[in-house]
Structures are given as C-alpha cells and as structure tokens.
C-alpha cells in the first residue's frame, strides 16, 4: 500500500500551548463510529472549533477549512495522551497538518502518527518554549537530516525512531517488513508448539 512520504516541509506554525492535549480533544469519541479512515478532518478538534449547535467558534485557534500554510502544529507537553485511537492522526492529517511538535508526545500517538505520514517532532524544553511563544513562525522540518530550523535559523536536531524514519522517507508500509519475516514467524510458532 502506498503511504504518504515525508522528506521535508517548510511551513508556518499553529500553536496550541495547552499541556496534556489528549486524543479526546483531537477527535471526540462520538466520531469514532466510523468504519472508514478518510474524511475525519471535520472532526479534528471538533469541540474546539464548533459550538454545541455546530456553528464555528470565532475564538477557535483552528480555522474552519484547515490550517492553510500553518501545517506544523506546535502543542504543549504530553501531546496525544489518552487512547490508542488512530483516528487522532487520521483526523489531523485530513484536516491539513503534516507535523506535530512538542516537548514530549505520547507513546501510542507517536507510533500511530508515523504509520500514517504525520511526523512527530520532540524538541528540548527551551526550543519548545520559543516555538510556543512565536505562533505563525516559519519553520522547516527536514527528516533526511533530522533537523528543525527555526525562523531565526537556529537549527535543532531531533530524533525519529530509525525504522519509522525509513518508512516515512521511502513511503514504505511496515506491514511488508513483517510479511517478509514469515519464515521466522513460522519457526517461532513451531518451536512454541
């Protein structure tokens, strides 16, 4: 299956500084009664974007039709905590984000994100504080060199799990990797039996 590749992106940032933004914020549970993975952008941060009667909130940090040039979401610490729902990265991607930056990003969310072409970038606290303080800044994220370049040209190295990075750069689906290990899996099964 083809995947969205990710090499580099230069875009502006959309900042939501709150800590512990959980998967229920990213996509409320009532949107999980779907059997598809497409079209979830409307549900992204739904309760931040719409009032109870479905009218867009003027106060929302999220524009109604997607982030436009602001494809880099900069969020407070412990972003994506909560459930294992992969609907969260699906919704963010469909809404228009390609990168999420925080000081720390929750484990399962990070794992789900890379499998779908959404790049999670964890940066040191001082850099994080500067990004949070400058919404709309133009930032470059380069996965080939593992570097984030800030508007003032400050360059920060970040780490992405090497296999996930490889899959993102090449547009590879990790299922192919697992399927290629069929003989080892069969051997493990016969030994265990």
């Amino acid at each position: 299956m083809s995947r969205d590749r990710f090499e580099r992106l230069t875009a502006r940032t959309l900042v939501v500084p709150q800590a512990n933004i959980d998967t229920d914020q990213i996509i409320p549970a009532r949107f999980l009664t779907t059997t598809a993975r497409d079209g979830l952008g409307k549900a992204a941060f739904y309760d931040w974007r719409y009032t109870a009667d479905g009218t867009p909130k003027n106060s929302s940090p999220f524009p109604p039709d997607g982030p436009g040039e602001r494809q880099i979401l900069v969020a407070g610490p412990n972003f994506g905590c909560g459930s294992s729902r992969e609907h969260a990265p699906w919704a963010l991607l469909d809404y228009g984000f390609r990168v999420v930056v925080s000081s720390d990003i929750a484990d399962i969310f990070k794992s789900n994100a890379v499998k779908n072409g959404l790049l999670p970038v964890e940066v040191p606290a001082d850099i994080h504080a500067r990004l949070l303080a400058s919404p709309g800044a133009t930032v470059s994220v380069d996965l080939e060199s593992n570097q984030l370049v800030m508007e003032d040209e400050t360059t920060v190295a970040f780490e992405v799990e090497p296999f996930a990075r490889h899959c993102l750069l090449e547009g590879i689906d990790p299922l192919g990797h697992l399927l290629s290990q069929d003989a080892a899996i069969a051997a493990f099964e016969s030994e265990a039996a």
């Binding site: 800590a19 409320p28 009664t33 059997t35 407070g76 399962i108 499998k115 697992l178």
Partner: protein
C-alpha cells in the same frame, strides 16, 4: 554481551516476558518483531484494519489466537419489544455489523450480542481465562495494560498494528525502559486500588511513565485482590506507560483456576511451575523508580482535566499558579482552595474496564445499601460483562442499586467513553469510576471527577463530593 554473562545478569519480569516473545531481535535499523499470544478485537478500532487485509488480499494468520467482543458502541439499555437494540446512531449499529461480518469471514471467535460471555474486552479476557501469566496480549485499546495484572505483557496498539497482528500475529516494537512503582505498607480500611492509582498519578504525573513499562510492587500490591490489581494496571496508561505489570502469585493462580480457557489437570501443574518463574530478580535494576507510602493514601478524586490532578476527597483543591491548572479549574468550576465537599454532583457512573467487576459493584452496594441516591442525582451502574451482571444479580446487588434509586444497565463501556449514547449533559458534574477526566470525554462540556466505586457511591448518596468512609463507619455501627 556473551551468552554466559547475559544469563547471569539479573532480569526484570518485563525482560523475561519480552525475551520469550522475540521472533526477530531489535537492531538499530528496525524494531523487534514480537509474537502475540492473544489478540483481543472490538468494533471501534478494527474496521479499518480488516479493510487493509481486504485491499491486500491477506488472511488472518491465527484466528485461534484472536477473540472479538462488542463493548464500546453497544447500548446499555435493553432491546426494544421488536428485539432491536436502541443504538445511539446508525453508524454505531453499522460498526457492530461490520465486526460481525469480519469475524464470520475470517473465522474469528466472537462474543456476540446475546452471548452469555460478552462484555468489556478487558473484563472478559481475565474472566474467561484467556488472560494468563506469561502471555503477550494486545488490543486496539489503550487500557490493554489491565491484563498486566496477571503477569502478562499486554499493551494497547493502533489500528494499523491491529492489521499487523491480524496478518502476521506479530507487532514491531522497540523495547521500552523499565520502571518500578513500589507501594510500601498496608492500605487503610476504605481505601482501594483506584485510590492507589490516583495517588500514583498525583505523584509521578500524567507522563511520569512515558516510554517505560511499569512494574507494581510492595506490600499493598501483593495484598490486593486480582480485581484491584487489574484496576491499578488499567491506569498505568494514564501515567503514559503502555504496560503495567504485577508478578503472578498464589492470588493470581487461585483466580485463574477452573476458568473456561485456563489450562487444566497436568497442563495446569506445568503452567503453575512455569508461572512461578515470572518475577523480577531480587537484584534487578529498573531505569526509573517511584515509591509511595500506601498507609498515607486516602480515598481520592480528581479535580482537574487530567488524571494526575488528584487529591484526597476529604481535603480541598490545591492552590496553583500554573495557567493550565487555572484553565482546568475554570472548566471544572472547582476553585483552588475550595473544599471538595462544597462541590455538588449531578450524575454518578459506576462501571468501565477500570471498575466494573463484581468486587467493585459489591463495594458500591455496601455504601448504597439501605440508602437513597440524593434528589436530582442520576446514578448509573453498568456491569463490565454478562458474567458480572449475572453474578451481581445472584447476590442481589441489582436490587440494592434499584432500591437506592440508581439505574441497573446492560454490560458495556457506556459512559467511560460515552459513544453509545450514555453521556452527561453540558455543564453537569459526573463522578465516574472510569479512567479519564478529559474535557468532553463523557459528553460535550461535561465535568468528570474520577473516583473509586465506594467514593462514587457515597457521592451519589450525599449529592456532593464526599469521603466514603463516613458511610462505612455508620455501617459498622449498625452491625
């Protein structure tokens, strides 16, 4: 490291479980391939995984190591006179039908609607003896950490990984670091596992276990019932850890023996002998440690919008200058310095994979027996499985709840995730035995306070936040 020194070096329980399941070792270039002994499937996080199998023409490798149940989207109200269920939406009904069709197509056993063994995925695994020490267990649900209470390596996965396990019975994983959380001393009467979990979260924070597999240890853990251990491991994910673990012991073995899928006769003796080896060496070291004084833990509640915003219910909301905490206080309408007892309660939910087992319902019933739910409070009691429902009804717990003015529902996830129609109204304050107090989790603008079953029941009776021990003392006096 050569083989001899590898064998000689002390290992943690986590190391032992991990090493047993490595199919292909981890390298710098790729994660380890880990074999999965039990894959639990439910209706919400599986449809897109089955779609990928269909697109690629793949089969389910081991339907015999897979078990499906229906829990998240299913109504907890009884069927209508025509036999149909009152689903919240058409989409919810379609999701259930999709799981039924996928299981039929791939030969996956399904605890379908009407099956006497159906229930919440993390309740039925242990109940049926599917959850066993030494197994690797995954599910597309973050609270899969629950099964670690049995000394199983259990963790939540995303839908893409659900597809991986369906197709290959394996997942790709980097080995996490290890953390030990030790509860020294004994709990006070009236304090339970949920209080331990909330006290831990208040101590280490919502990301205190991030990147780590937590092993729970200490006297208060060893003396917990299996149900209590499941509650504690269930909440490990709320500290950012995917895995919670407790070494299996006699309590574990006694709980498992005789269950439907548990080993029997000669297999049982062999299994026990093996399970006794599943522990951390005395001199094993952990990457991170935390210690709590169990005797100092009181009945706990949360007052903010993250599970680590937890404090003793008998006290007041702690002061804070942090912007996030002030925003949370605005949302919750619980001001710093305000005594929790001043906070009125609109709704109480007793249920969820954290606290819907028989012992949880007994605890709630002990408080509600002979009392009435306060005027204006709606109380919902939702058993975790059909088995829990039957056992509770056999003991008359349902009649205690109904006499108190609470509702007694059909099994399911219900108001924990609130995607089946069970939810609070905007602005309501809900005391909930579930695991998450996130904004909007139990309905738009609903304010969630997490608590153990006795505390939740006490709040229903009092009509405001309160320490459950006030009712337990009265009960002792009566006796």
């Amino acid at each position: 490291m050569d083989r001899v020194s590898e064998r000689a070096s002390p290992r943690t329980l986590f190391d032992r479980l991990w090493d047993r399941h490595v199919v292909v070792s981890e390298t710098e270039d790729h994660p380890a391939t880990i074999y999965i002994d039990l894959h639990l499937v439910h209706e919400v996080t599986s449809p897109q995984a089955f779609s990928v199998l269909a697109e690629r023409g793949l089969k389910v490798r081991r339907p015999d190591l897979t078990m499906a149940t229906i829990d998240h989207s299913v109504p907890t109200l009884p069927a209508r006179p025509d036999g149909t269920l009152p689903y919240a939406t058409e989409a919810a009904a379609r999701q259930v039908e999709q799981l039924q069709a996928n299981c039929a197509q791939h030969g996956i056993p399904l605890l379908d609607l009407g099956d006497t063994r159906r229930g919440i995925v993390h309740v039925i695994g242990p109940e049926l003896g599917l959850t066993l020490p030494g197994k690797t267990i995954v599910c597309g649900d973050s609270h899969t950490s629950t099964h670690g209470a049995f000394g199983a390596l259990a963790f939540g996965i995303g839908t893409t990984e659900v597809g991986h396990v369906l197709a290959t019975q394996c997942v790709l994983q980097r080995k996490p670091k290890t953390m030990r959380v030790t509860f020294d001393g004994a709990l006070q009467p009236g304090v339970g596992a949920k209080d331990m979990a909330l006290a831990m979260l208040a101590t280490i924070g919502a990301n205190g276990g991030q990147g780590h597999a937590i092993e729970f240890a200490g006297e208060a853990v060893r003396t917990l019932s299996m149900e209590g251990r499941m509650t504690l491991c269930n909440m490990a994910i709320e500290a950012g850890a995917r895995v919670g673990l407790i070494a299996p012991d006699e309590t574990t073995f006694a709980w498992i023996e005789g269950r439907e899928f548990a080993p029997a006769e000669a297999d049982w003796d062999a299994a026990i002998a093996d399970w006794r080896t599943l522990r951390s060496d005395e001199d094993a070291t952990f990457d991170k440690e935390a210690r709590l004084d169990a005797a100092a833990i009181e009945p706990m509640i949360t007052y903010g919008v993250s599970p680590d915003a937890a404090a003793a219910v008998g006290k007041a909301a702690p002061p804070s200058n942090d912007q996030g905490a002030r925003d949370a206080a605005d949302y919750m309408q619980i001001e710093p310095g305000q005594a929790f007892a001043e906070t009125a309660v609109d709704r109480v939910f007793i249920g969820s994979c954290t606290n819907s087992r028989l012992s949880d319902l007994r605890e709630a019933a002990r408080v509600m027996r002979g009392r009435k739910v306060a005027d204006g409070v709606v109380a919902l009691v939702v058993p975790g499985s059909e088995q829990v429902r039957r056992d509770a009804e056999a003991e008359g717990l349902d009649r205690i709840f109904l006499a108190a003015g609470a509702e007694w529902r059909e099994p399911g996830c219900s108001m924990c995730i609130a995607m089946n129609g069970d939810q609070g109204a905007p602005g309501e304050l809900v005391v909930s035995t579930s695991n998450r107090n996130f904004i909007g989790r139990q309905g738009k603008d609903v304010r969630t306070v997490l608590a153990g079953p006795a505390t939740a029941a006490a709040c229903a009776i009092a009509g405001h936040l309160t320490d459950p021990r006030r009712y337990m003392e009265e009960m002792r006096d009566v006796a």
